[in-house]
Symmetry: C2
Subunit: 196 residues, 2 copies
């Protein structure tokens, strides 16, 4: 029996971290909500998808282009922090100690998953470094296998271009995930970054 409720359950089940029981609970919850609450949910999804785009400079998600961080003249435009995802930017911003710019790669090198150099925003990072006053690039990819490989690759690439390259300190546990680190650990890791 394939009802509209089953199809909504299936849509929820495709979201990351949502299993079949949670998906079912969410679907039943939605159809029993008043129409105005369902409309507000749909509007929020539609507007977020319509209005959030990648900043043409740093490729972070933003409703403006350039994003508020890239266009903020009070920030330190001589330092770029390279991260894997927009969520990582949010996590480092919440730690409150970093005042430079960002560059979002949108992934990490992973040959087994078919993610190569051309699938990440690496070319765009190199272009930014040619045109600006950047003095330091902080590599803040995740401290797991793919993130380490990406950091090593970028470190070699950027040092031949004569730029200071640092790696966020291994204050995070190996195999961890930047997005979920606590603020103090993240702030310490940025402060203790090391030459590569």
């Amino acid at each position: 029996m394939d009802t509209p409720l089953d199809r909504l359950t299936e849509q929820f089940r495709r979201l990351p971290g949502i299993g079949i029981k949670t998906a079912r609970k969410l679907a039943y919850h939605i159809v029993q909500q008043p129409q105005d609450k369902v409309d507000a949910f749909i509007t929020a999804i539609r507007e977020a998808k319509e209005q959030m785009h990648f900043c043409s400079i740093c490729f972070n998600l933003s409703a403006q282009d350039p994003c508020p961080i890239c266009s903020d003249s009070r920030r330190d435009h001589t330092t770029i922090c390279v991260v894997e995802t927009p969520q990582d930017v949010l996590a480092i911003e919440r730690s409150g100690d970093y005042h430079g710019l960002y560059h979002v790669l949108h992934g990490a090198l992973s040959p087994l998953d078919g993610v190569g150099v051309d699938d990440l925003r690496i070319k765009e990072l190199l272009q930014r470094l040619q045109n600006t006053e950047v003095q330091e690039v902080i590599l803040a990819t995740d401290p797991d296998v793919e993130g380490e490989a990406t950091a090593l690759y970028l470190a070699r690439l950027l040092k031949t271009a004569g730029i200071r390259v640092t790696r966020i300190a291994r204050g995070l546990p190996m195999g961890g995930d930047i997005e979920y680190a606590d603020e103090a650990t993240l702030a310490g890791a940025v402060a203790n970054r090391q030459e590569m």
Copy 2:
């Protein structure tokens, strides 16, 4: 900074069982999905809300009225299983051993939460019993304080009307939730129902 992404995060956070970190992950996931996938998600929400209604007989959620269970002549129309939520109907149907009809109360008596007799579909249950060949009502409200109180109230009410009233067996742990019980426990509990 209140962006469309923040507003979508807030909408996800209002769903049951979704905390702030999961809400953020889901919002970032949605806006980075291709447009056609976001459209499919919105369509599933809209269609489920538009097409799923309460059956005018049993008040279960259904895309048809009467629902497929109420209009199935092969089912046992002499037995009605009274449950708190549509999810409970789904759980008992999955257990596979029950072939009668249902009646969804949409809650349980809870004076502290302001849920009284008139807030549940109790009047509609009594009307069903007047007009049909029903011989037994199985009370399958949750085995917690509110569910037990609701079962006791209904048992007294229905026995004065001369109907056989049974309670689903206490195979489920006290304080539990019918929706999440495993199939075997549920099937056993229905089989071992006792006179009240």
